[in-house]
Amino acid sequence: MKKKISPMTRKSFVTYGLLLIVFIAVEIMMNTGNISSMLKGLLVPVCVYSILAVSLNLTVGILGELSLGQAGFMCIGAYSSAIFSNLVKDTITQPLIRFPLAIIIGGICAALFGILIGIPVLRLRGDYLAIVTLAFGEIIKNVFAALYIGYDSTGLHFSLKSQGDLGLGADGKMIINGALGISGTPNDSTFEIAAAILFITLIIAYNFVNSRTGRAVMSIRDNRIAAESVGINITKYKLITFGLTAFLAGVAGVLYSHNFYSLQASKFDYNMSILVLVFVVLGGIGSIRGSVIAAVVLTMLPEYLRSINNYRMLFYAVILIVMMICTSNATIRNFFVHNFEKLKGLIFKNKSKTVKEAE
């Protein structure tokens, strides 16, 4: 008998394969110089948004809870890692050592916040959770926008008032300058690193879903009362999922902050959270591959539509609506699936015949 590959495993390997093909194609384009500067500038953001979408899908699609705090976790990851990198950039000059450390620090800070707010918030359900996480994101953004951090020979200085309040010495340097944000962060984010992190994110997400923990989480989503009746600890698994989502969002924040020379907290507003939710919904709730595809397409699209400037948002809106209809309407989805099956049938005609005879 042939060894059986589970559908989940097959799904994940198709996604890894697709990603690898795209990665190699982009690498070839870059090395032969066949890449527009616009596309080049989009590569890291595309990876960042894909990671954000996959991570949110764990909470929305796998746990079945609506969270709008994604920008908040991202902000924590971005700021904590940028502070770290600014502090050590003169001592650790090798980005290949500095950046992984920054990624871990950003992820862990975000995860800690995720668990901290998760403990009270995950008791709430549905709309309430969405509202509280939205508020949390806005609070985080505003706190960072009011924060001043600098350092001199005497150490770190914090203030929530103004730059002058820090009382920096003559050799002092600003790291966070209130609403002006962070500047001077080393540009450690490269496409290769961002793609590698996206790859790792996908492996984590697929392996998580396809494990004992993931099953417990999905059982809570499908039927909380039944899950409790077989001894599943609801709070624990909600917290684990929420923490993992926050961790990955924090890592995305690290990639984001190390991609720009300067960065303002105002970037991490609720629009960002909603945008990521749009990726998840359009890519198909619970579909990890769908999240990546939606994030890639919808991040690149507005940029490519710039050439038809006046109609840009109109096209964007139309494409959003078409995607929504195609992914949510069962009749239309079946139409595509059906035709795809037919096509497959044509290509693998002989093969499918023998299978039929065997049955």
């Binding site: 494990s211 004992r212 417990a216 409790e228 009746s229 077989v230 001894g231 599943i232």
Partner: protein
């Protein structure tokens, strides 16, 4: 010592006294029936026994251990598993995964082991698959193991719920109307299955059922509930011929 000993259990919903002074004693290995007209409070008793509702009065002893007021999770770990009157499967998961969720607390590895695919993950998953398929086989569901649970016909969904409950290795299995919606053939099959489960897994069974064919066919003892109160109890034959019971069922 009785496996389950319930004393003077009671609960009110607002002004409604849904269960009042309910007592029951079930010996190890018994196949026990809980019957009564619609709205008598049978499901409420299951919810009290499993910690979904907290009783306002009374006590519950399982195997000599007081489990009154414990959480659903603690009670499941103490050894009570159940099925639901309105089927509650994990409908997006496959049939085998439903059972594997039931195995959750007996086959363990950490979230990290799962994410990083350490050797223990493969070992434990293999054991879980083996155990889950064994359980599914008892219910003749092994052929459908990899289908989504929502795709199963009604009767098989009820069986899957029992398999999932058994996966938690309970001492006491509570079945809430297991034959509801089944045709006479399916019911007969289910009766055999319940007997097999009791004999092979050594669990004690307490079931709620309206189907008198099933009740008289396999239950050794019965308790009859009416308006939240105990009407009578005893050997199945005696109870079913009791004029008071007949009156409660047929009305005045």
């Amino acid at each position: 010592m009785a496996l389950l000993e319930v004393k003077k259990l009671g609960i009110s919903f607002g002004g409604l006294r849904a269960v009042d002074e309910f007592s029951i004693k079930i010996e190890k290995g018994e196949l026990y029936g809980l019957i009564g007209p619609n709205g008598a409070g049978k499901t409420t008793i299951f919810n009290l026994l499993t910690g979904v509702y907290k009783p306002t009065d009374g006590s519950i002893l399982l195997d000599g251990v007081d489990i009154t007021g414990k959480s659903t999770i603690q009670i499941n770990r103490a050894g009570i598993a159940r099925t639901f009157q309105n089927i509650r499967l994990f409908h997006n998961l496959s049939v085998i995964d439903n059972v594997k969720v039931g195995l959750h607390n007996h086959y363990k590895y950490s979230a990290g082991t799962g994410v990083f695919r350490l050797p223990k993950y493969f070992r434990t998953e293999k054991e879980m698959n083996k155990k889950a398929l064994e359980l599914l086989k008892v219910f003749d569901l092994d052929g459908e193991a990899y289908l989504p649970a929502s795709g199963l016909p009604y009767g098989k969904q009820r069986k899957l719920e029992i398999a999932r409950a058994l996966a938690t290795e309970p001492k006491l299995l509570l079945l809430d109307e297991p034959a509801a919606g089944m045709n006479p053939n399916e019911t007969a099959g289910l009766m055999d299955t319940i007997l097999t489960v009791r004999d092979e897994f050594g669990v004690t069974v307490l079931l709620i059922e309206h189907d008198m064919f099933l009740v008289s066919g396999i239950c050794e003892k019965l308790t009859v509930l009416n308006f939240g109160q105990l009407l009578c109890e005893g050997k199945t034959g005696d109870v079913l011929s009791n004029p008071e019971v007949i009156k409660a069922y047929l009305g005045e």
